[in-house]
Amino acid sequence: MKAAVDLGPYVMLILVGFLPNEVWRLLGLVMARGLDEGSELVIWSRAVATAILAGVIAKLILFSTGELAAVPLQIRLGAAACAFVAYVVMKRSVFAGVLGGEAALLIGGYLFTP
């Protein structure tokens, strides 16, 4: 039966996808009880979350995987720098920044990827 065969991935989704992921959200829910937005723990948590996010960003750019890894590191770093410059020049527009970075990656990748 096809349904029985297909049950495997769905059970995996719950057991090794949903549950180990969701547990951190629920811990956050428990921890946040009774805290207001100005409390020290909330300010610290925000700084920790921002640093983790920055770490994720830097790792995605430096240690890329898949098709992005085929684009040379210098091009990826240059594109990130272009994104930042475009963001600042276009009066702090997030859209302009992302567009600038993507354009730089496509052009650089097209010209310089072996």
Binding site: P20, L29, M31, D36, A51, L53, L68, L106, Y110
Partner: protein, 248 residues
């Protein structure tokens, strides 16, 4: 309770619905919906390549709602990794959700909000929603924030689900450089929007420290490198911020 002139129930319903749709609208108009399109087109193609169904991807987007965890899960099912190994990798990738929820919920909650009503924003917490909520919620009246936040999240999740299907059926037809550029959307948009959100000194410090520490600890292959990046970078940023505040 405290308000002597509370609006009629119908009026509340309309304004809650209106706030929900305002959140939905702001999700669809933000740069993150473009990013989610790119990310989930890539995720759809990956799902197709490992032989899982498009509906499985849709369900995993709704239940897991975290691109890194989904990537790990899909590639692990594809390669047939050991279950415990996958669960550990997923839970390590998800540690960031904990401080995010702790920082977000006090913004959404009012003294009268029930714990049950906090379950949705808790589950919806993800990078795009968190970054946008921290930027937009302070400008919104406290009693509207929950509805706005839910609308915003439904907008993002809906976009991700729809473009997961698009990617699944487009699958391998994309040229490699274009796939690479789609993958680049995620770090680019997180980067620029975090820079945009970092108006306070503590945020800027945490951002710069995280950018430096993340790859460094990753390069040293320290176990739990991202968690340590957060704890070390965030704590240093917090103390510099506190010391300067005392000095002023």
């Amino acid at each position: 309770m405290a308000e002597p002139l509370s609006p009629a129930p119908a009026e509340i319903a309309t304004s809650t619905a209106a706030t929900f749709f305002a959140g939905l609208r702001s999700a669809l108009l933000s740069v993150f919906s473009l990013v989610l399109m790119g990310t989930y087109i890539g995720m759809g193609a990956l799902t197709h390549s490992v032989g899982l169904s498009a509906w499985w991807l849709a369900l995993s987007t709704v239940l897991v709602w975290a691109a890194p965890a989904q990537l790990i899960l899909i590639s692990a099912i594809g390669s047939g990794s050991a279950l415990v190994e996958v669960a550990i990798a997923v839970t390590l990738s998800a540690t960031r959700l904990f401080p995010m929820v702790v920082a977000l919920l006090p913004l959404v909650r009012r003294p009268t909000t029930r714990l049950l009503d906090m379950l949705l924003p808790t589950h919806f917490t993800s990078i795009s929603m968190w970054v946008e909520s921290l930027r937009l919620l302070p400008k919104i009246a406290p009693d509207r924030r929950l509805a706005f936040c839910n609308g915003l999240s439904v907008g993002y999740m809906g976009t991700a689900v729809v473009f997961g299907f698009v990617g699944y059926y487009l699958a391998a037809g994309l040229p490699p450089l274009l796939s690479g550029a789609l993958m680049f959307l995620t770090p680019m948009s997180f980067f620029i929007s975090t820079v945009n959100n970092a108006r306070m000194m503590i945020d800027k410090l945490a951002l710069v420290l995280g950018l430096a520490l993340g790859p460094l600890l990753g390069y040293w292959q320290l176990p739990l490198d991202l968690m340590w990046t957060g704890i070390i970078g965030g704590t240093i940023a917090y103390f510099i911020f506190r010391v300067r505040e005392v000095a002023q």
